[in-house]
Symmetry: C2
Subunit: 426 residues, 2 copies
């Protein structure tokens, strides 16, 4: 059931939603910091020790051999393989358009400058293990890296109790072009990727979701390597007009609520009656869900609704919340797209459920949460490139313009900066 709140309370709602971002406890930070230090010093030996300790498996090597990889793939369902192949094509089609080019600017004789676009050399993808296997997450993280041109995309994932990896994960990795898989999880996996071991080469960037130990480890190694954002709880905000179908609205709210007791599901509507109908549907649909308890907790805490005067007002409130997922269940959604300022990903019209984007449509499902859509973006090809500028001045050019450099440098009291131009001009 969604709790109705009033427009006047939208700031309180915003604060309440933001309060979900949990600080990492000192205990977790100390534990993780010790693991990182151990892996940095003792490398493979430490990795295998923690795998034994946390995953209860004794491995000879962390590397998944081609034979093991191929053998696991054979266990996948045909229907799953077919769906994943189509999803891959859609994700590639969308992300290929994100490729960027460098440029060269010739200003005048003897002066040129430009920007190069370079892919990162090595990227590590963390993939959670155990029962919660998310092959879609492998595609969403690995495909943009490969499109960016990253030569070395490696995946780390904790081994199951038989010392191997889930068939679906093995298949998704192969499909996405992952170069190597290592059976290691937790903070030890992040440390291995950041500093390197005998088996695992260090990478330039680590992406992918994980538990609180993984998140803490990513925070601690940031700077030594780059990381993606550390995602907060899932969020969906549905803007629904008079014609919106309550059954669809409820189904979509539930699709985020089932992620996590901290997930939020918010309805902004111009139709007061819709709220009652959605609440009836929520009861009916959630009753038969396997994750019923999670859904109930999530909706109780973070299921909210506001009735607004217009679609414009709904979108204006949504802009303040800056949701991860925004559904515009309205007529002519393209007419209103322009009004949306802050949202990770937007789903247009009555038929575009958010889960199309999670699995299949082609847009990325790694999105800014906790209001950070105000200033950040989905994972994309951009996440796996860097840009480097260059500048050329000929002898004649520095002779012509050196005096301006001397002037500004002198005003800033940086005489050696001025001299560097001066020695070339005299």
């Amino acid at each position: 059931m969604l709790t109705r709140i009033y427009k006047e309370d939208k700031d309180a709602l915003k604060e309440y939603l933001m309060s979900r971002t949990q600080d990492l406890s000192t205990d977790v930070l100390v534990t993780v910091s010790n693991i990182i230090q151990d892996v940095k010093e003792n490398k493979d030996e430490a990795c295998l020790k923690y795998t034994q300790q946390f995953d209860k498996v004794s491995l000879d090597t962390m590397e998944v051999s081609q034979e093991e990889w191929d053998a696991q793939i054979l266990k996948c369902d045909d229907s799953f393989v077919e769906a994943m192949k189509l999803a891959k094509k859609n994700i590639e089609d969308f992300h290929k358009l994100q490729k960027q080019n460098g440029y060269l600017l010739q200003k005048e004789k003897g002066i040129y400058l430009g920007q190069r676009v370079l892919s990162l050399e090595a990227v590590g993808i963390y993939v959670p293990g155990g029962r919660a296997q998310y092959p879609s997450s492998v595609l969403m993280n690995a495909l943009p890296a490969k499109i960016a041109g990253v030569q070395n995309v490696v995946m780390v994932t904790p081994p199951d109790k038989n010392g191997t990896i889930h068939p679906n994960i093995a298949y998704a990795a192969k499909l996405a072009g992952v170069d190597k898989i290592y059976k290691i999880g937790g903070a030890q996996a992040i440390a291995a990727l950041a500093y390197g071991t005998q088996t695992i080469d260090r990478v330039d960037k680590i992406v992918g979701p994980g538990n609180i130990y993984v998140a803490a480890a990513k925070k601690l190694v940031y700077g030594t390597v780059d990381i993606d954002m550390i995602a907060g709880p899932s969020e969906i905000l549905v803007v629904a007009d008079e014609k919106a179908n309550a059954e669809y609205v409820a189904a979509d709210l539930l699709s985020q609520a089932e992620h996590d007791p901290m997930a939020s599901a918010i309805l902004l509507t111009t139709n007061e009656e819709l709220l009652d109908l959605v609440n009836q549907e929520l009861l009916k649909q959630s009753a038969v869900l396997p994750k019923k308890e999670i859904v109930e907790q999530s909706l109780k805490n973070y299921g909210k609704a506001i009735v607004c005067d217009s679609v414009e007002e709904c979108i204006s409130i949504s802009n303040e919340i800056a949701p991860e997922h925004l559904e515009l269940m309205i007529q002519n959604p393209m007419e209103h797209l322009q009004e949306v300022k802050n949202a990770g990903s937007i789903f247009l019209g009555y038929y575009t459920c958010e889960s199309i984007g999670d699995y299949f449509g082609g847009t990325n499902h790694v999105l800014p949460t906790s209001g950070t859509a105000r200033f950040s973006s989905a994972l994309s090809v951009d996440s796996f490139i860097k840009k480097s500028s260059y500048l050329y001045y000929s002898k004649q050019a520095i002779e012509a313009y050196g005096k301006y450099i001397e002037t500004i440098a002198s005003e800033e009291h940086l005489q050696a900066h001025a001299n560097a131009a001066k020695v070339r001009v005299k």
Copy 2:
């Protein structure tokens, strides 16, 4: 004087350079955290109180009026104004080419998806005060934001002992199109920008250099707002071949060494004799520098040279160090540019001193330090935009493809995700 080290010790050099990044002490973090909390609660009142306490000035308002702003500008030197105007033009020419466009992909009837590029709405630029005034930094931070389309670019800077701001800073701000200036510095300024006060509106992103309190405050508010990178000490790495001029090489090494006793100046050369000549020049040129003591400390600790067998080897070592500034003082530098994998900004040939880039050439001088050029980029128009994706499926489209979404969602044990497609297909 540069200390010669051997190729075999390049890993040790890399570690040594990385060790300069200082952790923030608990004392600093606690002090800053208290200031932030105070500003969050008491807003303007707290801001004015800290300005009194730290800057020894009692202000009625933090806002710089148009009259005050214009009056300060009149005090600038004409030659400075002329140089800044030309610099602005060059910076704009280079950065305008970084503007990005969104795209729309029509996949088939009833399916389209795309990406929008939106500028941030409000950006705050921190500008240090006191004697160290850096008008070039105002241009480098504000111009890309304005080109990105940011409507509201505000500047914060501590007032001088007369309660006003430096003429050069006032002029640079006007030239760059800054919308408002507030007289406030330190952690209190960062807190005001992150949370807003009666006078200062909260922003989406804070950029610009500052002292250790400013850096700590930026770290602490990150997540509530975006921040730029927190810069480490300046770095220059010069690759010089047989024909390189020792006077120029020395002048350029000194231009970074004068920044900070922690700054690094590294020479990689194919010419053993050049090293002696450069060391002679360093002694000669540094003797007359106003910042002689800083230079001596910096060179003593972080002035190093390696003699290599070839330019290719020099660049290969440079790639491992990933310097902020890389000068290629070699013949045919464009032929070797391709070999450079990790460098913030590259200066080509014998005449392109790094200080052209600091002030005038047009490339940005806010660059990745401490080896982070391996995975990050200069400040650019990209720093002030966000991207948001959208997706549309018609009724027919979800009927055609819904089953694939159900398949993948079911494999991931997320039944509500599957249901969102299912209710629309039945």
